[in-house]
């Protein structure tokens, strides 16, 4: 590690996030399959997104709004005058037109910043945001064999936002913290699903090392193919170590793109980076200029949803939640909204947080692969609130409540109705317990006699019998009281 203290790590992050719109960026094709339907390849396509001759793109207003909203959340300057779409020219089978409509010289948003807490370092870093711009996604390629690739154009033309930072991050942990903070924001404002695993959010890390105190940046390497925040952190750690070792030996690094190999835990060189001017950007002649009206931007700013930082602060300061619970809840905006709704039903914040981040999340995560999110759970917040109230009042045990939750989670039945219908509630009725005790004593005359002769260790057996008789539902304190009253009283 001695060598690491001689160098400073410099990381910049580039994020591509698919925007949460119904239709594509420049045509009306759906961005996803209908709910519950499989996504059949090459079905969500039209002449525009296939790049057929004679077609014209038309800008999706919602996509522009979502980028502006993101820019505002990141304290960017939102350009209201000279916004421009440009053609980025390159030939690759994932690009039907032979160019991607993107933004280059005049992006929608620029010059922002994001304050990122880094719990593992006990710090908070201020990350400058270079730009956030709008472009279109490419087709999905499958590498079919040695001599051919297979193309699915469903993804071609899906609205894509690119967010670029300045090289302000100083460690792999900071890079990860930035990625997670950005994802939380995108989810809170509804701009993107922010899902690394499915690729709706993709991260590239640009990493270099320079001698401590140096002003100039070292040779940077761009790392792709990062499918999780953990991969991002691990890949950055790998590169930092690799650079430090090379620099320590006096070697020159090559500016290149490398791919992360999750299984082997290392990066592999992909290709040398093409010069930026090879893309031959020029203004997109098929799109009239875009000048977002200042009133439009102001309206979006006024309607900005609560951002994760504000929500976390509210959870900790107003609701008294732990930093951990606050972080878990805000990492999934739908979970946070569900929690808010449970609390709004009158449940105390602490038990509400315990149930939502605990058993509820466990059941939710078990179906996450099927795309289930909190908003789609059959049991609505009022139902969970009802169940928590039953636990808090002592009417049912936590174990029983978990069973009830598992049953109604996908069915949406009222937990109270289940508890009543199946008599799962605890028995705290003195008369019912009294009857159970009488019956048990009548059925076990030998043991009763034993107890009364002074062998009081048999008492535990009698308690057990009463509990069995009531299927474990009897309140232990009442059983004890009643048993002693009847045993000692009838002597």
């Amino acid at each position: 590690m001695a060598v690491l203290t001689r160098y400073e790590t410099v990381i910049g992050i580039e994020v591509h996030a698919q925007l949460r719109t119904s239709s594509k960026m420049f045509c009306s094709c759906p961005t996803g399959a209908a709910a519950g339907e499989p996504d059949e390849p090459n079905t969500r396509v039209c002449p525009v997104c296939l790049g057929l001759p004679g077609t014209l793109p038309v800008i999706n207003r919602r996509a522009v709004e979502l980028v502006i909203l993101t820019g505002l959340a990141l304290e960017c300057h939102v350009e209201t005058d000279a916004v421009r779409f440009e053609r980025k020219n390159y030939f690759y089978p994932d690009l039907p037109k032979g160019y991607q409509i993107s933004q280059y010289a005049l992006p929608l948003c620029s010059g922002g910043r994001l304050s990122v807490p880094v719990p593992s370092e006990g710090t908070e870093v201020l990350v400058d945001i270079t730009r956030a711009h709008l472009e279109e996604d490419t087709a999905r390629l499958q590498h079919g064999g040695r001599d051919h690739s297979l193309v699915d154009f469903n993804r071609a033309g899906v609205p894509l936002m690119e967010i670029v930072t300045e090289p302000d991050l100083r460690s792999p942990a900071q890079a990860r913290a930035y990625g997670e903070a950005l994802r939380d924001i995108l989810r809170h404002i509804g701009a993107s699903d922010g899902d690394m695993e499915t690729g709706s959010m993709r991260i590239e890390g640009n990493v270099s090392l320079r001698p401590m105190g140096a002003a100039d940046l070292g040779t940077k390497v761009e790392v792709k193919n990062l499918n999780s925040f953990r991969s991002l952190e691990r890949a950055m750690e790998f590169e930092v170590a690799r650079h430090a070792e090379a620099l320590g030996r006096g070697e020159q690094l090559t500016q290149e793109t490398r791919g992360w190999d999750e299984g082997k835990g290392r990066t592999v060189s992909q290709r040398s980076k093409e010069e930026a001017n090879d893309y031959r950007y020029f203004p997109e002649p098929d799109l009239p200029p875009l000048r977002p009206a200042a009133e439009w931007v102001a309206r979006l700013r006024a309607g900005m949803p609560e951002l994760p930082v504000a929500r976390r602060t509210r959870y900790r300061q107003s609701l008294g939640l732990s930093a951990y619970d606050a972080a878990v809840l805000t990492a999934d905006v739908e979970l946070a909204e569900y929690f808010d709704a449970v609390v709004a039903e009158g449940v105390a914040p602490k038990p509400a947080a315990n149930w939502v981040t605990g058993e509820f999340s466990r059941l939710l995560n078990a179906r996450a692969a099927d795309g289930l999110r909190a908003s789609g759970v059959a049991l609505r917040p009022a139902g969970l609130a009802e169940l928590i109230a039953e636990v808090e009042s002592g009417a049912v045990s936590t174990t029983t409540a978990k069973t009830v939750l598992a049953r109604t989670f996908h069915a949406g039945e009222s937990p109270r109705a289940i508890i009543e219908a199946e008599e799962l509630g605890g028995l705290s009725d003195t008369r019912a317990i009294g009857e159970a005790v009488s019956e048990v004593l009548a059925n076990h005359p030998a043991q009763v006699a034993e107890y009364r002769s002074g062998k009081t260790q048999i008492y535990g057996f009698l308690v057990g019998q009463v509990m069995r008789h009531t299927a474990g539902r009897a309140d232990g304190r009442l059983v004890d009281e009643e048993l002693r009253r009847q045993l000692d009283g009838e002597q």
Binding site: T21, S28, V45, H148, L150, Q270
Partner: protein
């Protein structure tokens, strides 16, 4: 006159393999095209702002409403090669986009 290297570079970007004769041919033809366009330099543009559009429209947008597209069979009707529901193309060795 543009250089042979320029022609080779542009050909590589366009993923075209050119023979030596074709490079000669393109060098001449591309040079003449550039010379023709270069005549625009003689126009006095000192009083004219940068212009990327002349049609006078702006802020043309559509609402975010999805509609069904072509359908797969129509979309792939002219594809030279298919493999099931997918379009099949020659492999591009340069990875990583």
């Amino acid at each position: 006159m543009i250089s042979r290297q320029d022609v080779e570079h542009v050909a590589a970007l366009a993923r075209l393999g050119l023979s030596a004769d074709e490079i000669d041919l393109m060098q001449g033809q591309l040079s003449r095209i550039l010379e023709a366009v270069a005549q625009l330099r003689d126009v006095d543009t000192s009083q004219i702002g940068p212009t990327a559009q002349v049609i006078g429209l702006e802020n043309v947008m559509r609402e975010d409403e999805a509609r069904a597209g072509l359908g797969r069979e129509l979309a792939l009707a002219n594809a030279p090669l298919r493999e099931g529901p997918l379009l099949r193309v020659p492999v591009i060795l340069e990875e990583g986009r």
